[in-house]
Symmetry: C2
Subunit: 335 residues, 2 copies
DNA sequence: AAAACTCATGTCATCGATGACATAGTTGCT
DNA sequence: AGCAACTATGTCATCGATGACATGAGTTTT
């Protein structure tokens, strides 16, 4: 590997001068500059970022930790972060936390040792207090899920509002027995969505039936399974509110397999092909790319102005995209 | 930030001894070890990876460059790489190349400056000779697309075979006018798939009609558009071979919008919900996660044994997943 | 013409961890 | 006892780039 010293020797100057040329320092004669640049070209000099960043103590890297990079939602978030980061010559190191909350801390800590300049995290555990000690080393921004036992910036979707709207939408279409399918209430997101669901039922004066609250699934398959159980109930639901997109990709096929596309479905979170399924699935759209972008911009803003004050809690509005899956049976077949 | 020197002072030893304790060097008395460990705990010492890796000249990072991290295929590849990398305590830095080939080189070069230990790339440009000079610094592995103007390891799917099989499958279902939709033949992948398609037609003694070869689209929307054009042809195709999954997510809705789900469709590359669409879409499955894993393992193997020889060209078999979209009209409506 | 000032360039130290080597103290063996 | 072998620990240099400061040559000022 070619170093500045190599270039310096070749050009007959000191390493410092090479550094100056490289960094466009005006205090270099045109003549020297050209000789150095020629030497750089000949030796194909490439700066060693590791040395530079080591000296600065910073790595020009933003760490990203999400439950699963392959999940379309988080993949889109990642893309949003990446695009924003690139505008500031920052790279991103990405990590999947998986679904075992007890591993979260150690996975994060290996990331953090790399002297990242900022961390964007969608946590899976029920306690992020371990991040406290890092907070004055670099900015930390939570996305999708609020931090627990820690104060930090966060950008979350309007979980309560979205769930409320989704449920209300089902009610408006005449549904009275509405089930909710989701993961664990350990996840703050799910908790809030459940609350939104409950509030909408209350609002409409509907009875809340605990047997229609089907939480606790771990993946799409489990969601599909629980969906079958729900429909086998003596007093089965006529509509399902799927509290996240991942589960919707399990619930929809389950309904289809049972030939029960008469059951209304609405999903918190858009998902690929939701608009071309039959029936197309109404969703609460979260704009993940935007979430990623604003989170990254917050990190960058905090790096640029460490003392400035920012709004901690940021709720990103969600949008109901109405498709066919909530239409009443009559309306659907008539279409 | 706490350094080894801080810990050393606190424990009344030299920094080197702290280093020894940290690295489990046996030449430390139990007594000293404990004092140092206590000091580390009190000061919450965390090693500075940047310093370590700078000294080693390596960063314990694998660089990944793909056209788009948010694309489900590449997201899955990334996941596969990440899981393999983590087993070796390596992090991944991810970069999207976008769709402008002329930017590829500069994007890669910013990644490469970070002294990555290996690079996994799915290129978008038509010339990777610029990577030549890096080849003896760290292993480079191509995925999905073979390198151009460069010799390097690659792991690609069986493009020719898969396309052949897909086309043959359509022929077996009675189709005689089969269109192919894809991006540019600048992409080797597409070129090979086109060849597979042509070979299958030849094999069956079918006439190859140039107007059915609809390449050149840049995204799903363009693919949808071209699909409409195809169907408006006087002698329109009865089947479409979509040469990649991304485009299939454009073609399918287009067919549906035109109410032409009688047109058979097969997709090179599985995509989310393909199995629950109506009709469900037959695909050539590529197993992206596996592609990611083997690519990462090759990187790791090359790092571990720099002189060992490996097979350069690796073709990963693909698998036809038969669903409904190629069934003849009669069969489908009867199902 | 001497003093003051510019400007190009160089020298040295530094960032944190760690190899190479040094040193002082201890144990073991004849 | 005397010397080798070993052990615990320390000192120094190093990785590459770059800030702080130094130097020396040339230029301006009075």
């Amino acid at each position: 590997m070619t170093t500045m010293q190599d270039v310096a020797t070749r050009a007959g100057v000191s390493a410092k001068t090479v550094s100056r040329v490289f960094n466009d320092d005006p205090h270099v004669t045109e003549d020297t500059r050209e000789r150095v640049q020629a030497a750089m070209r000949e030796l194909k000099y490439v700066p060693n970022m590791l040395a530079r960043t080591f000296r600065e103590g910073k790595s020009a890297v933003i760490g990203i930790a999400v439950p699963d990079v392959a999940d379309p939602f988080f993949a889109a978030v990642t893309k949003g972060i990446e695009l924003a980061a690139r505008e500031h010559d920052m790279a991103i190191v990405v990590t999947s936390l998986g679904d075992n909350p007890s591993l979260e801390q150690s996975i994060i800590e290996t990331t953090v040792r790399r002297q990242i300049d900022g961390l964007i995290i969608a946590p899976i555990a029920a306690d992020q207090s371990y991040l406290l000690r890092w907070q004055d080393s670099f900015p930390i921004v939570f996305i999708d899920r609020i931090p627990t036992k820690l104060n930090a910036d966060y950008f979350v979707e309007d979980d309560f509002g979205g769930a409320f709207e989704a449920t209300q939408h089902l009610i408006a279409h005449g549904h009275r027995r509405i089930a909710i399918v989701g993961d664990s209430t350990d996840v703050p997101t799910t908790r809030l969505r459940l609350e939104g669901y409950r509030a909408a039922l209350d609002d409409a004066g509907l009875k809340k039936d605990e047997e229609l609250i089907a939480l606790g699934s771990r993946d799409a398959d489990a969601a599909a399974q629980i969906c079958k159980t729900l429909l086998a109930l003596p007093d089965a639901p006529t509509a399902i509110f799927s509290s996240n997109a991942r589960f919707s990709t399990g619930v929809f096929p389950a309904l289809q397999a049972l030939n029960r596309t008469d059951i209304a479905l609405i999903s918190f979170g858009d998902f690929p092909m939701a608009d071309v399924l039959q029936p197309s699935v109404s969703v609460i759209d979260q704009n993940p790319r935007q979430v990623g972008r604003v989170a990254a911009e917050r990190i960058l803003a905090r790096i640029a102005a460490p003392t400035k004050r920012f709004r901690r809690k940021n709720v990103i509005p969600v949008k109901l995209i109405e498709r066919q899956s909530c239409q009443s049976v009559g309306a659907l077949s008539a279409s």
